[in-house]
């Protein structure tokens, strides 16, 4: 029961109905039993009374051998007038002490002078017990009770009066009472269900309201609950409202902090950009002032122009990377791994196949979808990094796979690896180990991966290559996406 998830609105009326029905049934059964006991005792009393009546009038005709008078008396005392007739009467008889019929209500079936039954009859033992009875008694049989009374004359037992009453009426009355109890129990159960339903609706409405408000709260909408009730549920509403208000405050605070952090991060980037631009700029300005001072020295021009161009290239690369980052940041398109084939083609075009062996291992299916532009950019950056880490050639492996609910993208190279002390800094902006690098590639990878709710791991040692693993959660399939 506990494991089957059942709504309270069903459980409550059900439990109430079961309890009410069980109580009604228990009381009813007890009453029916008592009633039956009472009726049975009454039936016993009637059987004995009739047997005694027969026994009282029997001695004279029994002693005289007056079978006809005995028969008439028996008939008269157990049948009597129509109104006073015992309705449960099955039969009645007077037997002699040996069990022979002296008179029987069914003379055709039980002729006088013959034993009332044979010794092999199943009722024989009871008859023997009845024949030795010295006081009126009641014996029970299948479907009847039998009142017996000895017929006595001058202290001698000259016969036995035997009156059999049916328990059919008793059984019928019990059945009728049981039916009444059953109907009553069902009725009570129905009332229990109705009351329980009404009660649960009354009780569950505020709970449902609370649950909806909590859901809304999760989505960022705070709807205060009515605090009209004065019971525990009312207290719950008050507590909830207080909690929701606190959460609201906290969220506002958090968003303010986040906004501040964004400003701070922007400041850091701006400072980094300024610094990165400033370095080549200072060199270039230096070159320009030297050229201006030594205008007529062509050797200087030939020497400084490439330096100036290098500086400008570096600034250009920096700006390009920043632009890429800005462009991709807001990308939303969902795509499957097909869009990554472009990345493969691009990298294939950029590398010298004699130097670098490029292995592309795509195990993603068409159902494995993700943010296409961001993932493209992540892979391009990682693959380019790997290519640049192998100036003398090597093996480049790109493996795309699915691991449970996550998509895993691995880029592995056999290049020079990353020094231990640098591993904690490679994702910092503007950190680079290459003179021409902007230091923004891996920073962009990390930012994009985080924006997808994913993570980036690196496994590397100097001289043993590097392995980057990006894990992102699976996006909802395209069909579920809004058009």
């Amino acid at each position: 029961m506990g494991r089957i998830p059942l709504s309270l609105s069903i459980k409550l009326p059900l439990v109430l109905a079961i309890v009410v029905a069980a109580v009604a049934a228990t009381i009813g059964v007890a009453m029916v039993n008592r009633d039956r006991q009472h009726l049975r005792e009454e039936l016993h009393g009637r059987a004995v009374l009739l047997a005694r009546t027969v026994a009282a009038i029997a001695p004279e005709p029994v002693l005289r051998g007056d079978s006809w008078t005995l028969y008439k008396s028996l008939r008269q005392s157990v049948r009597g007038p129509e109104s006073a007739r015992e309705k449960a009467l099955i039969t009645a008889m007077v037997l002699d002490p040996q069990g022979r019929v002296l008179a029987h209500l069914e003379p055709a079936a039980f002729p006088i002078g013959l034993p009332v039954m044979r010794p092999d009859s199943p009722e024989w033992p009871r008859l023997q017990a009845e024949l030795v009875a010295r006081v009126p008694d009641v014996f029970e049989g299948e479907g009847f009770v039998e009142g017996v009374a000895p017929v006595q004359a001058s202290g001698y037992t000259v016969g036995l009066a035997r009156v059999r009453l049916s328990t059919h009426e008793l059984d019928e009355q019990t059945a009728a009472a049981a039916t009444t109890v059953l109907i009553l129990s069902i009725g009570m159960a129905v009332i229990g269900i109705i009351l329980g339903a009404a009660w649960s609706i009354r009780m569950l409405r505020p709970l449902r309201l609370l649950s909806r408000s909590m859901l809304d709260l999760g989505r960022g909408v705070f709807r205060p609950l009515p605090e009209s009730r004065r019971d525990e549920i009312g207290q719950l509403a008050v507590s909830f409202n207080e909690m929701a208000a606190e959460i609201e405050d906290k969220r506002r605070l958090q968003s303010e902090v986040a906004a501040n952090e964004k400003v701070l991060a922007l400041g850091r980037i701006a400072a980094g950009v300024a610094h990165e631009v400033n370095n080549p700029l200072a060199g270039m300005l230096n070159c320009l002032s030297t050229l201006r001072a030594e205008k007529n020295d062509p050797a200087l021009v030939a020497r400084y122009l490439p330096l100036i161009e290098n500086g400008l290239r570096k600034i250009e690369a920096l700006v390009k990377d920043l632009l890429i980052e800005l462009r991709v940041e807001d990308a939303r398109e969902i795509a499957d791994s097909g869009c990554l084939e472009d990345v493969r083609d691009l990298v294939n075009a950029e590398i010298d196949p004699h130097l670098i062996e490029f292995v592309w291992d795509n195990r993603l299916g068409s159902d494995d979808v993700f943010n296409g532009p961001k993932m493209q950019q992540i892979l391009i950056n990682l693959l380019r990094n790997a290519v640049q880490a192998m100036p003398d050639g090597g093996r480049l492996l790109c493996r795309l796979r699915r691991d449970g609910a996550r998509l895993v993208f691995e880029v592995e190279d056999t290049g020079h690896g990353i020094a231990e002390r640098d591993q904690s800094r490679i994702f910092d902006p503007f950190f680079t180990s290459r003179p021409a690098g902007t230091g923004l590639g891996l920073w962009i990878v990390l930012r994009l991966a985080q924006s997808l709710g994913g993570s980036v791991e690196v496994d590397s040692a100097p001289g043993r290559g590097a392995k980057f693993r990006v894990q992102i959660p699976q996006e909802q399939p395209r069909v579920a996406q809004p058009a």
Binding site: G65, D66, S67, W68, Y71, K72, A103, P107, A108, P111, I112, G113, L114
Partner: protein, 278 residues
């Protein structure tokens, strides 16, 4: 003076009452010979007789014939309708005399019917051996003497022939005992059986006649020997004249009798043989 006045008053009182009124009503005994269940009929018959005889008549029911005979002997009863058996048995003692005999189905005769239950497989008296048999009473002709005589004639011992016997002291109840299968068989007065068959067929419908005996003189109406001759003559005349009187005829119809007739005591000779040959 006063004495004369008293004598005159006494004479007046005596004159004012019909003769014999001081003796009270005429007591007429009834026994199992007739159907006693229809009390109303006997009341009306008593009224009729009283009116005709000029003295109130009272029918008195008696359980046994012997009782009725003894009451006749002691003088308590003036008349009695008795069975042919006690008549034949006691007629020589002369304390009563034959007054009238009913005519039933054209003759002053009746017979014994041997009856069994309508569903009984029994077809002869012989097959009743070892069964329960109902007698009317020990002084009954058709209800006791006749069946025993029949057994005796067939070479059986009437005392051992049946498993059990009992007396009902009424032919009607004997028929009832057979109808209810308390008794397997019985011998009853043909008049009572026929009367019930016509008036109340409920009981007789459940019985079947398996044999009829020879005829006997019908149970007679007798008078006490010491009774006033005029009263006896008057009562005899009234009875014999009932079929000529509309009221009397209606009563006879109800009694299922044709009329009353005078008969010789020889009519009952066949009856008197029975007890002697037992």
């Amino acid at each position: 003076m006063l004495r004369y006045a008293l004598i005159a008053l006494a004479a007046l009182t005596a004159l004012a009452q019909p003769a014999g009124a001081a003796d009270g009503p005429i007591r007429f005994g009834l026994t199992a010979a007739v159907v006693r269940e229809n009390l109303n009929l006997y009341e009306r018959w008593a009224d009729y007789l009283g009116r005709k005889v000029g003295r109130p008549v009272e029918f008195v029911q008696r359980r046994t014939y012997r009782e009725a005979i003894e009451l006749l002997r002691t003088g308590e009863h003036d008349f009695s309708w008795v069975c042919s058996f006690p008549y034949a048995k006691y007629r020589d003692e002369k304390f009563f005399g034959l007054m009238a005999v009913p005519v039933f189905e054209g003759k002053p005769l009746y017979r014994a019917y041997l009856i069994v239950h309508k569903d009984s497989p029994i077809r002869t008296l012989d097959e009743l051996q070892g069964r329960v048999f109902a007698y009317s009473e020990p002084d009954s002709n058709t209800g006791y003497a006749v069946p025993r005589q029949m057994l005796f004639d067939a070479g059986k011992n009437p005392d051992r022939f049946f498993r059990q016997t009992f007396f009902t002291y009424s032919h009607t109840e004997t028929i009832e005992a057979v109808a209810e299968q308390v008794a397997d068989g019985a011998s009853v007065d043909s008049y009572v059986w026929e009367y019930l068959a016509r008036r109340e067929p409920r009981l007789t419908a459940d019985t079947r006649i398996i044999s009829r005996s020879k005829d006997f003189g019908f149970p007679p109406l007798v008078y006490r020997s010491g009774i006033d001759d005029k009263l006896r003559q008057r009562m005899t005349e009234v009875l014999l004249g009932m079929d000529k009187d509309p009221d009397g005829k209606a009563l006879l119809d109800e009694l299922v009798l044709d009329r009353f007739t005078v008969a010789s005591p020889d009519l009952f000779d066949g009856v008197s043989l029975n007890p002697e040959r037992r």
